[in-house]
Amino acid sequence: MKKNIAFYSIVLLLVSGHIMAQEEEPTEYKKRVLEAVEVNLLSSYYTQDGENAAVTGGRGTEELTDIAPSINISIPLNDDDVLTVDATVSAYTSASSSNIDPFDGPQPADPFVASSGASEQDTWFGLTANYAHSSDDRNTIISGNVSFANEYDYSSIGFGGSITKLFNEKNTELQLNVNAYFDSWRPQYPIEFREGFNLSDYSFSGNPNFSSNYTEFQDESRNSYSIGVSLSQILSKSIQTAFIGDVVLQNGLLSTPHQRVYFGDFEDTMVENFTLGNDIERLPDTRTKIALGNRTNFYLNQNFILRTYYRFYTDDWGIDSHTFKAELPIKLGLNYTFYPMYRYYTQTAANDFGEYNTIVSTQEFYTSDYDLAEYDAHQYGIGFKYYDPLNKLNIGGFGLKSIDLKYNYYERTTQNFNANITSLSFNFVAN
């Protein structure tokens, strides 16, 4: 009897001890994905110039100026979820766009002179919202996004999502992402093709029987679907690499409705210094793009990092391209980084590209957009970053985390085209 009491007492003690252990088992610490609200204020000033404007069939000024302020806000909704909102406004003036209607200003019409009419300027607005959820172990991240963009002749709505998995003690990261854009044009055709244009209202020379192959596009929609995969891998304590691939399918109105084309087999009609177009750009209504890239970064020592990037691109319009970029962040102490950059880009011409006034009217597809021509481009950049991990400078409840200033110069060696872009950003973290 006494033995039974002792036995059952021991069993009862063991069972109750096990239950108490389960109830008091401590929860594992889970670091928040994002500790506090982050605000990024960015802006850029862009200028370009060239002499192969697509609006005037590959011959004309490409002068353009753009100012684009942007704000990006990341908000931690809880330990696992982050909402990011990005809004950008881009205001530009363009000499080539102004020549959609070269006759609406006081100066003589000329492809190398900007017209001062309404088509000279436009504003693009874009808004994107992204929601991301991380699993408790932080090895799975699921995100979804929606975007909206609008300018005078174009609107876009887009949806997308991604799933990211981390493996191997977070040394390996695999991501799959998909995006779809449902866009539409509101075509602004060159003035000589619009109803109401009458050649007899102008003093002209050349062919008095001005005629064109122009017809309006019936389908004004433009859809894009992409699927992308990326695989990132830490190779050592100082090297990590990522392989990225994107496949993009597009359909709909892929031509740009205000870009003129001149036929070599048509006699020209000129008004003032401006040759009236023979048609607008006609490109296939489908396009398939494949891009494969690699980023590899090397932590050389506490003062030097090397960032490299390569991309191969091909599409079914006949364009193949290679991109190579190298950047060398140079750390000057804990807070300052100086980073020079060089980028080389080369592409082959689209099958349907023809230089100014070389296209034959019997072709099914044609363009004189020199962005689709064969060329090489060099880009040189210099950047400067101030980084304060302690966010000591406080402005309105937000600590300044970093300031980033960058200048890039871009030129095409086989075309007389160059561009300058200066960008500035301020990154704040809520206290």
Binding site: S226, K289, R311
Partner: protein, 55 residues
């Protein structure tokens, strides 16, 4: 050089902001003008052709 599982406490160099395997936030402007002015797009985190009347 080989793929090794670098421990979290050994990732001080890998976690440097300049080692991030993506474009800088400021480079979104550069990527945008490149997607407008160049035929190629994709594999860089930028626009792939939708959302704009670009190439």
């Amino acid at each position: 050089m080989s793929c090794v599982a670098v421990k979290e406490y050994e990732k001080i160099n890998i976690n440097d902001p300049d080692m991030r395997l993506s474009e800088r936030d400021l480079d979104k402007y550069k990527s945008t003008f490149q997607s407008y002015r160049e035929a190629a797009a994709g594999a860089n985190g930028g626009k792939t052709g939708g959302g704009c009347g670009c190439n």
